[in-house]
Symmetry: C2
Amino acid sequence: MHKVNLIDKFAQITDYWNPHIAGELNGQQVKLVKFKGPFTWHHHEQEDELFYVVKGSFVMELRDQNIELKEGDCLVVPRGVEHRPNAEEEVWVMLFEPAATLNTGNTENEFTKKELNRI
Amino acid sequence: MHKVNLIDKFAQITDYWNPHIAGELNGQQVKLVKFKGPFTWHHHEQEDELFYVVKGSFVMELRDQNIELKEGDCLVVPRGVEHRPNAEEEVWVMLFEPAATLNTGNTENEFTKKELNRI
């Protein structure tokens, strides 16, 4: 058992849209990811997804609204809901979701990461 | 769907050792709790528990070591492991754990909270 400092871990991440596994519990994973630019529209069939902004801000685009998320904000996107994160500037985001969650959900493209690194 | 700002939510909490539910996903809950002083020794039979320090610091006492957790630190206490959080000063902690988790685990005493408020 050991503690993990999220700020230190984020400092080690050098790429965008590549979630790194920082912890695991009850079949769920804590993933750290840096966003920059627009992601791809997708949804997750089976998984609700929590986004928590550690540093910076981004817009969660939904089909019927945009939600701006700033430092300290949390948002749960329920399964089945189409979404696209879009970050004008680099933002540090902690995800909490089932271990089986694929980053691009029901789609597969240049953003898809099937093998995640532990950090 | 709506965002939640953790700092704003913590500002509304006026008591210690009383987890408030800030979100729910995949059968898990995000709980916000202020610690101050020593808690009670306990473990959880079925649940791993994530502690994330939003503000302040505390010591996670384990039977074989103490782990000091500061702002930005995360710790997963696996099921079955006895632990006692101990905070010299007030600390703001986000918990992530299965919805069914009782705060005092296998024990029941003056710290036990069976009904949690949503915040």
